[in-house]
Symmetry: C2
Subunit: 170 residues, 2 copies
């Protein structure tokens, strides 16, 4: 067992021994979802004030709305959420590379078969060069999508990894 | 401003006023990623023992490895993670519907234009009927993918929403 797997087991022992929330329902109690980045420096529950059971939390590289659409539709249509809080962040890895860089790394590290598999199914890593612009673009993308009802409330934010602060920009 | 947006602002005030972790680096310090579900009843940091800065956390509907592949490739190839902890959970919404159910809801709630947009770009909601089987299948999918290096350590787990406990199954 790896050190990381041992850590999951010991954390789970400690957490479950004090756990009192086994009664929570499947649909989020406060009927909202948070979409944010997978970045290791973000703790959504603490930074954005999400109590257990209150909100869906979707996370991917760059907090991409496009990438999250499957989950967003399920959250809204099957589990009743009515509001989206979209949070990207300063210092995001997605600001540091292009699709071409990523293709190059895959070919160098994993070989030409991997590159062929990549090109056959995952053509866009969805990097961006303008943080605030990317938040606004994703909010617009969700507002425009026929798959997101018009009465869903959508806001866009930037989390500052340097200060722990979250600031609204859309 | 909605009540949920006000809550983000007040939580951010409180969190940032005590924040001391502005020095953390972009790459995850412990070089691993956790892939889990967006479910509102899961707090990965607490339940799986993830300290701020240690791991990427990817979350989507059902903790789908297929859906997360873009983020996983970025995590490994650009930010140096070497281990995947995949956690699905009891009581998952993905156990409760089929693609046909979801298509039907989209058509009923959002109309035929929305259904057409859905079918043009997002054909599979990736539901599953066997929880432990779905964990094993996703671990196998990642192990088999040419886009995940052979020396990446992968484990599969089930979080019990009733008890707060996380149990390894693959």
């Amino acid at each position: 067992m790896s050190a990381i797997q041992k850590n999951v087991e010991s954390a789970s022992e400690a957490y479950s021994s004090l756990f009192t929330q086994g009664h929570l329902a499947l649909p989020p109690a406060k009927k909202y979802l948070v979409l944010t980045c997978m970045d290791a420096r973000i703790d959504p529950a603490q930074a954005f004030g999400i109590d257990l059971g209150d909100a869906h939390v979707i996370r991917n590289a760059g907090a991409s709305a496009h990438d999250a659409l499957r989950s967003i539709i399920i959250s809204e249509q099957l589990l009743g959420t009515r509001e989206i809080v979209l949070v990207k962040h300063t210092g995001c890895g997605m600001l540091t590379f292009t699709n071409e860089d990523a293709y190059g790394l895959v070919e160098k590290n994993l070989g030409s078969d991997a590159l062929a598999e990549l090109k056959s199914r995952q053509p866009d890593f969805l990097p961006f060069s303008d943080l605030e612009g990317a938040v606004k673009k994703d909010v617009q993308y969700l507002s425009d999508s026929k798959l997101v009802p018009n009465d869903i409330t959508i806001s866009g934010w930037i989390y500052q990894v340097e200060t722990g602060k979250t600031v609204r920009v859309a």
